[in-house]
């Protein structure tokens, strides 16, 4: 497998374009790549260029000379890298493919984070066998390409120096292991924690979250409780040199890595299998699926869409239709079991998975509020699918219908939306605990059509099932100016490594 080189599509409307000219030279730094002084990433058209200083070059020379490197690239575990002429001030430059879509660990499902953790450990084990090490251990160095994890930060590899411990161990536990333990052992979703604290839970915090039945588990005792205690006792007293002089070897790292691989591979999440059954039991899903698929295919054929964002994607059926027609489809949903099942089903090329609550999508955050751009900045669709979604926003999250329509229009591109009337059986369930006066007005079909007319031209529509649902194919009206759009800030990061 190889990472796909695909030129990103042009922004769908002038409003969605970056306010500054598109980067055409290597002076546009990626806002998500600055922590490692030996290696930083800039955007160069449809390529990502990694600039290395002398130390970074030394690491690249050590890595690129190994059979391990060639094998890892060939089997798709490590991103492709080609040396290019470095600009002034850099010792070397590597060109990587610019990935279609970047997602972040707080948007991944349990199985995605677990596979990313296993990739990290697998590569470290292979690197140590080749006389190398990986100097950090963050899931931001992993991206999903064609449904498989790929390590994207070749600048993280360097020659192993005798006596050195695994520098990334603590980071691995905070950003991979503890989030997985939260879900597998405590039944707590890790995504809100990783979104709230990009460094992940500390050992001390994780120790307090361990369920009683796991507190004496050997792995919990070592990686969580003992680490918490030793971090507390040692504070900031340096022991790195002392460890080397005491006889620390790469074999000790290998022993730790192999035990961690067994531990991570053994972690299961009981909720992972609940997705399909609950979703397909809904009668409207099977009833309307074929019609909605044909409506989508007609739009794809009419528009030639290249970048489709499927909001409320559920099991990813419609994303897969778009991907089968050659588009990049970003399947967005807040229900982890269905997305986890979609991921484990190996959906294949052209489909990206994002777990987020659309009433509160991933914000732009990190250093200067730009290190990890918002989901809406990264999405940049030329077609939005909003099937089976708006009633959840209107009746579940209490978003007024006018705000939902305004939000859909802010993407600045064609939209396929499924209207669901207050008489629909699903809406009746959603409002079961609400009184009529507690609902926003404007939910009836006539009201919705009036709202649509303020922002869109309707180019096609299709009644569904029992008449409580209608599909609309919408084209955005030319903006009068001054209308706010979702995308703000700078060029979305197309890498994510730290």
């Amino acid at each position: 497998m190889s990472a796909r080189w695909r030129k990103p599509p042009s922004p769908p409307s002038p409003e969605l374009a970056h306010p500054e000219p598109a980067p055409t030279d290597v002076s546009t730094p990626d806002p998500g790549s600055f922590r490692d002084p030996a290696s930083r990433v800039v955007i160069d058209g449809d390529k990502v260029v990694r600039l290395l200083d002398e130390r970074g070059l030394e690491g690249w020379r050590s890595l690129s000379a190994t059979k391990f490197f060639r094998t890892a690239v060939a089997d798709g575990r490590l991103i492709e890298s080609v040396e290019v002429d470095p600009p002034d001030g850099s010792a070397a430059a590597l060109a990587h493919p610019r990935l279609d879509f970047i997602s972040y660990p707080y948007e991944w499902t349990f199985s995605m984070l677990r596979d990313a953790a296993l990739l990290q450990l697998d590569l470290l084990e292979g690197a140590l066998g080749a006389g190398l090490t990986i100097k950090d251990a963050t899931p931001y160095n992993v991206q999903f390409v064609d449904g498989r994890p790929v390590f994207i930060d070749v600048g993280s590899f360097e020659a192993y120096r005798s006596g050195e411990p695994w520098i990334g161990y603590r980071q691995f536990t905070r950003q991979f292991l503890f989030p997985l333990l939260l879900r597998a052992w405590a039944g707590v979703p890790f995504q809100p924690w990783l979104r709230g604290d990009l460094e992940g839970p500390t050992a001390e915090q994780m120790a307090k979250l361990l369920p009683a039945g796991k507190r004496l588990n050997t792995s919990a005792l070592l990686h969580v409780r003992l680490q918490a205690r030793m971090e507390s006792r040692m504070g900031d007293r340096s022991v790195r040199r002392e460890l080397g002089e005491a006889g620390f070897t790469a074999d000790l790292i290998l022993a730790n890595v192999r035990k961690l691989k067994k531990l991570v591979a053994s972690l299961e999440w009981e909720g992972a299998d609940q997705g399909w059954s609950t979703y397909v039991e809904c009668s409207h899903v099977t009833r309307d699926r074929a019609t909605k698929g044909e409506f989508l295919e007609a739009a794809l054929d009419r528009l030639g869409s290249r970048r489709v964002v499927d909001l409320g994607a559920n099991d990813g059926h419609f994303s897969q239709i778009a991907a089968a027609k050659g588009a990049l489809a970003v399947a967005v949903d807040s229900h982890e079991p269905v997305l986890d099942a979609l991921y484990r089903g190996r959906p294949g090329p052209g489909l990206a998975i994002v777990l987020t609550d659309l009433a509160n999508p991933s914000p732009s955050q990190g250093w200067a509020g730009r290190e990890r751009p918002s989901l809406m900045e990264r999405a940049r669709p030329d077609l939005v699918i909003a099937y089976g979604l708006i009633h959840h926003l209107i009746y579940g999250a209490s978003i007024p219908p006018r705000e939902v329509v305004r939000w859909l229009s802010s993407f600045g591109c064609p939209v396929l939306v499924e209207f669901v009337s207050p008489a629909d059986e699903m809406v009746v369930k959603l409002v079961g605990n609400k009184l009529p006066h507690e609902l926003h007005p404007g939910g009836e079909e006539a009201d919705f059509r009036a709202l649509l007319q303020q922002h869109f031209a309707t180019v096609a529509e299709q009644a569904l099932g029992e008449g409580t649902r209608v599909l609309f194919a919408l084209e955005p009206l030319p903006r009068a100016g001054g209308e706010p759009v979702i995308t703000t800030g700078g060029e979305p990061a197309m890498t994510s490594d730290g």
Partner: protein, 62 residues
């Protein structure tokens, strides 16, 4: 000594040796005692409570 950009955490580094097995526990003790000796020489104070390391008497299995 070349330091990376990432702070590996002193306690976490010593723990790695402990997790590595019997031989690693010995390495952890030696490193810890060396650190404590340096601290005593520099400041005349203890480097900290060694009990967390000393309590780890079993080889790690995870």
């Amino acid at each position: 000594m070349i330091f990376g950009y990432l702070d590996p955490g002193s306690g976490s580094m010593i723990l790695q040796a402990v997790i590595g097995g019997l031989a690693g526990i010995g390495v952890a003790f030696k490193a810890y005692r060396a650190r404590r000796a340096i601290n005593k020489a520099e400041t005349g104070s203890e480097a900290g409570d060694v009990s967390a390391v000393e309590e780890t008497t079993q080889p790690a299995e995870s």
